[in-house]
């Protein structure tokens, strides 16, 4: 649930999605502690309702300039082309995080996202057949591995390439 909330706030352009997700869960917990149960909505739907309030409060608090969409070429930390020399740390993190995955997972993630359009569809069909998985099951598996890889890379970059990213991998497993 927390991960879904983080992504919800990320999609809403929030700068500190993790803190907002924690705030949401804290409020839900408080309500449960106070009332013992939530009867007017399912727990998941109630989380969404609370998340909306947290988002509204956040939007009111921040400077409107912060949440204004920024053109990518003007953004201070806009993505650099992959060919830039500065991408070496990212490649190093990618190296390490792929190395931390199970070999089968590392191969799957490289193969699943290979190709464009029709070639990609054909590639995934072939992979699903090889792994004896339905296309949907393969998609879910690849998605989860990529989420894990991205979390590891993000942690690795935040830590300046240090070892703390290993914690993320072990938590995600």
């Amino acid at each position: 649930m927390r991960r879904r909330l983080v992504r919800y706030f990320e999609r809403k352009q929030c700068l500190d999605a993790d803190a907002l997700a924690d705030d949401t869960l804290n409020r839900v917990s408080r309500r449960l502690e106070e009332e013992g149960a939530i009867t007017d909505a399912s727990p998941a739907h109630y989380c969404h309702i609370v998340a909306k309030f947290v988002l509204l409060e956040y939007l009111r608090q921040i400077d409107s300039r912060v949440r204004q969409p920024i053109a990518v070429d003007q953004a201070p930390d806009a993505p650099r082309p992959a060919g830039d020399t500065d991408s070496q740390p990212l490649l190093d993190c990618l190296d390490r995080c792929l190395g931390q995955l199970d070999p089968d997972e590392a191969l799957l993630i490289l193969e699943y996202y290979r190709g464009e359009q029709r070639a990609k569809i054909e590639q995934r069909r072939r992979l699903a057949a090889e792994l004896e998985l339905s296309p949907n099951a393969l998609s879910i598996r690849a998605c989860r591995i990529r989420d894990k890889l991205e979390a590891c890379i993000t942690q690795c970059r935040d830590a300046g390439g240090r070892a703390t990213f290993r914690r993320v991998l072990s938590q995600e497993k």
Binding site: R7, Y8, H48, T85, L91, G161
Partner: protein
Amino acid sequence: MDDELLVRYLVGTTTDEETESLDQLSIADEAFAVRLRAVEHDLVDAYASGGLSGGVLDHFTSHYLSSPAGRAKVEIAKALRVYRGTDAAPHATPAVRSIGASRKWLLAAAAALIAIGATLAVDDVRLRQRAADARQGQLALEQRERELQDTIGRQQSAIADAARERAHAREEATERESQPAAGKYVLSIVLFPATRDAQRVPAIALSKSVDAVTLALDPGPEQFAEYRAVLEDAASDRVVWRSGPLRVASVQGRRILATTVRASLLHGGEYALKLSGITATREAKALDTYPFRVVLE
């Protein structure tokens, strides 16, 4: 619910009602959340490969990329693309395409290269442990080496062919339109310790289209939780690059270290990759040196 609706949701062009409904699903329904993530990964990959156009591209740029999280995902997608290395640019020249096609054993294609590399590397370990069946092991190793030399030879030959094609193309340039931009590639090579056979230093033929070089090697029989590598210019002993912590990958039960170096750091000449194992007390123990030569195309 089709993927097109999810794409519109991700780039911020759904109606308020659609957005509200999808927001709720994305929090309350795990299966939907996973599917949304899958669509998001493909969308980001399509952007990274230049596959978006029109309104989707406009909204992706103005909406999705306005968040730090979105930009981070795009950077990772681009890095994955560089790492895979074989997704040819749509306008790659015939010469470049031939280079790409000749490298099916790239790390990006993973299994082939790593399997060959691991096989060679493990054979190398056996050679260094030649106490009992030295002769037989050496013969097997030499056979493996020949296979690798053949592979490298084929690669160099392909690159040389490509260079010749390019030269030929330039001669006929007056009859042609301007040449499209070349794609980016990752070159992969298996390295051996210097101690084994100084005469056989592997060579990398580096063309301008190569963006990065993946160096795969056997770390030797001694096991460490972590390794580090330093790349030195052999002529000047100048340090060109230092790796972060490296860990052994186990591929088909075999141990292999792989790391990727940006091609822009490499110039023509001889290099030595010096490997160290990091002990439990965080001390670096010098291990083998892996020489290789870079030839600029």
